[in-house]
């Protein structure tokens, strides 16, 4: 039988762990516990709830208002891992600088980043957005329609393009970053100077992707330090790669 005094001596350790990793506990609570609870209570999926909120709170046809409504919902009500306003600014800036004509988005989720990007694109540019989940894809489609953009959403693996892609935004499964990047390289969709922006490379993190990028020598790369969307205190980063072509 362990004596209570020894158990009490572990108290500082517990307190330390709680304080040090408080943000992770908050994240766990908001992203998992609340979600499970709400799923059971309402019977709707998280994305559908978000869409309902946006429908009631945003002005149709105004992308900024829709984005704001999303931000509001994600920071106040529940948590969805959109790109968020802070990292979104970096994305906006890069798009403004680059002004790409063809943009490929991997992982549309509920259309937040698609709206965000479409807002900053020059006239005549095309945005291809890919989403794996059927339900999310319909919601994303609705959101994009709501924002007043032409519906360009392409579903499934039927993606076929003739030209190269100028800008790729990756925000899907972190495990798929590396295989998809290699796929892009192999398919010849990347031209010299194409930019690839990968979100969440530090948290949840895509170490293999980063390792590959560092080693391959095909890219000029840098990491934008930021914090995780809608949660303070968790460090995250976006990797910006510029394809240099095979030398």
């Amino acid at each position: 039988m362990v004596s209570p005094a020894i158990a009490l001596a572990f108290l500082p350790l517990v307190v330390t762990l709680i304080i040090r990793y408080r943000y992770y506990f908050v994240l766990f609570y908001r992203a998992f516990l609340v979600r499970v609870w709400q799923d059971c209570a309402t019977g709707l999926s998280r994305e559908e709830r978000a869409f309902q909120y946006v429908l009631t709170n945003a002005t149709p046809g105004d992308p900024d208002s829709i984005l704001e409504a999303f931000d509001q919902w994600c920071s106040k009500v529940e948590f969805i891992s959109n790109i968020g306003p802070k990292k979104g600014k970096i994305l906006d800036r890069l798009l403004m600088e680059q002004s790409p004509m063809t943009v490929l988005e991997l992982g549309a989720h509920c259309g937040y980043s698609a709206v965000r990007m479409a807002r900053c694109l020059p006239l005549g540019a095309r945005l291809y957005s890919v989403e794996m989940d059927q339900r999310n894809a319909t919601i994303a489609e609705k959101v994009i329609r709501l924002a007043g953009f032409d519906d360009d959403t392409v579903r499934g693996p039927s993606l076929k393009m003739h030209c190269t892609v100028d800008f790729v935004f990756m925000d899907h499964w972190k495990k798929c970053y590396l295989p998809d990047l290699q796929l892009l390289e192999g398919s010849g969709l990347l031209g010299k100077g194409s930019m690839i922006l990968a979100d969440n490379v530090l948290f949840p993190g895509a170490p293999n992707f980063l390792r590959y990028v560092r080693k391959s020598g095909l890219y000029e790369w840098r990491i934008h330090q930021a914090t995780l969307e809608y949660i303070r205190g968790i460090r995250d980063g976006m990797a910006e790669l510029v394809y240099q072509g095979i030398k």
């Binding site: 020894i6 009490l8 500082p12 350790l13 330390t16 040090r20 948290f203 949840p204 170490p207």
Partner: protein, 884 residues
Amino acid sequence: MTKCGVSVLTTGDEDEVSSCYEEHEWGKNRVKGREKEREKKKRGNARKKGASRAGRGDEELEERAERGEKGRRRRKRDNHDGKGRERDEEEQAEEKSGRAQEERDTEEGDAKRKKKNESAKREEKKEDGGKRAVKEKANAVKTKKHKKKSSEEEDVEEEEEEEKEKELRPESLSPEELEKLKEAVDEKKKLIQTLRGKPWPMKKKLSTLRESQEFLEKYEGALGKGKGRRLYAYKVMMTKKWMKFQRDFENFKTACIPWEMKIKEIESHFGSSVASYFIFLRWMYGINMILFGLTFGLVMVPEALMGRPYGSMPRKTVPRADEASAMDFAVLWDFGGYAQYSVLFYGYYNNQRAIGWLKFRMPLSYFLVGVGTVAYSYMVVIRTMARNANESGGGDDNSFNFSWKMFTSWDYLIGNPETADNKFASITTSFKEAILEEQESRKDDNIHLTRFLRVLANFLVMCCLAGSGYLIYFVVRRSQKFALDGLDNHSWWERNEVNMVMSLLGMFCPMLFDVISTLENYHPRIALQWQLGRIFALFLGNLYTFIIALMDEINLKRKEEEIVKFNMTVWEASLYNGTVPENSTAPPVTIHPADVPRGPCWETMVGQEFVRLIISDTMTTYITLLIGDFLRAVLVRFLNYCWCWDLEAGFPSYSEFDVSGNVLGLIFNQGMIWMGAFYAPCLPALNVLRLHVSMYLQCWAVMCCNVPQERVFKASGSNNFYMAMLLVILFLSTLPAIYTIVTIPPSFDCGPFSGKSRMFDVIQETLESDFPAWFSKVFSYASNPGLVLPFLLLMVLAIYYLQSTSKSFKEANVELKKKLQMARKAMTQAAEQQSNNNASPQAQKGEARSFLWWSEIGSSGIHGKKKKKKETFRALCKDLNVLL
């Protein structure tokens, strides 16, 4: 090739010389190659002749390729010869071939330049045709001789011949030429001296240096006149040999320092703050070795060899009741049983005045060693502190914040790319922070919040300390209750509760402090000092609670002892009463020593407690290391392949090396040693063992499972901080030890001082019986308060005087610094004015100079030499005068 400021003749010569030299060297190389061959054969390497010869050919080819590097090579090879070719020749050859590849490029460049030179100076060369002719003759002779070398037997003689040639040649020159040669030699010497300040690229500097050194090596010996020449050459040779020997000796010395390479490697990976911990550990190891030598050589070994053997008397025998379990591992692990009744503890020692045929004064030696270890520790710590204080100091961090950062923030010992990246990032952030600080210091709006947070943090820490203190107090009280009940009725956990709780609190509370200290937002260096202070308070509180509990226990034991003493007399009386009437003529009844009743011997109890504490502390440290660092690293590394987030960059990640916690652990461990060493002579030995193991274990752990700190900072200032803490701990740990020695009477039936009323009576006894009468008289006079008090007063006065003088020196230094600053301001103003007037070259010069001063000031700040600062200041004033 040298192009700068060397006379035409010299440059002309140079080509010639170098070509000659090549020849010469070429021959030599071949000779060497053959010698290598022979060596190999001698060593009996089972190699075939043909193959090795082919190998030699290869080697020669390689050597031919690397002529650009000859000077260095040759020195190295000479060096090699001197050492008697101990190293494996093959290895060197491989190394050479590797380097030759690198050298080839530079060599080609050199050759091109040479050609240009030649074409440009051909005309000039023609003028000294006579000289050339002489040289060519010599050259011709040489080449002939080289051609002669065909058989392997001749090589030694050939070398001799070559040397002769070298010496002979200058004689063939006319005095004029000799004069010129001398000039050239002087020129080269000057060049070597001033080379460091020349604004050339490093490659050029190196090549020039090498060439000049070759030139000097070749012709310096030849310059003496007539008879003195040989002597001169001999002298030059000897000085060179001597210098080489000194250099080798230095290398040897560094190779002899234990763990130097390990520490250097860690330093290159983790920066100097982590390395400073290991240096501290090594230093501690050295001190403990000496303590161990003292106790082992003067106390333990004499008692074991010359004292009475085990079982001869009650204090040296395991009591009858414990005999059955005396050899059990659990008992031995707790240092009971046979371990308790051995030289490891105080109680085993006999109070016999002199032991063995040496008449070794055991009790006196025991006492003096106890005092001597403490005195030695004080001496060493204070001496080291004084030395560190001399080295540090001088630089001020406040006035030139940005230039300090600019010029001095790189840690040149870093040799690992990752650490270098971290350092780079930390410098950048420190610049950013410094700029922000500058801005904020003008605004200072949020000062109240910061203050509030700092006070809050300290309050939390206080709460934490109080809580841990109370927990230990509670546990100690409980353990006393357990002790009264009898320890056998309780589980292992309950018996070891005190140690466990102390170790756990010592492990976890610093982590909590670390978390709390993020509230305060201090600079990491200051934060580290706060952290150290807090952990210090925690450990000290824990230790003193422990000691207070021990004191209670001592008092209990002494009460018990009184009872035992009384019982003893009764027992003895009954024994004799029972035996005497039966048979009065028979010898007195012999009782086996194990049956004799005995007192509790509180000294041994104290020693045991300390030994147990040390053992449990060591165990906790190692287990923490293995679980907290190694296991975590393994998990992070291998679970990362199949986990949903990045374990390495994200949540658990690898641990950083905790400098402050480790240093404090070391210091407190040492404090316990100092406290307990008097009652358990085995403690220094245990500590040496512990330090030795932890040196290897921690070196391994730090290299294998820790990552460099994110904010690498230099630890130059913190060494004396450690020392100061060590001094405080030394004082605080000797306090209770001395208190017990002076106030509590020793046990009546164990230890070297049994039977005396106080432990230090042994000195009195020795003075009376071992020294002549006059000596004890003198001693008693000297210890008279009338003499001691004035002496103390004098010492205090002397200390006061020295302190005030040092203060005045410091003030003078500050004054000088101010003047320096003023002068600098005036200087820059003047430079600005001049550049405003017209951008004359002088103004530019002034600017350049001011920059130079900047760097000089920076460097003098780094070295912290007052004298140099003054000199710089003087030079600055002079230049100012010249300029204005």
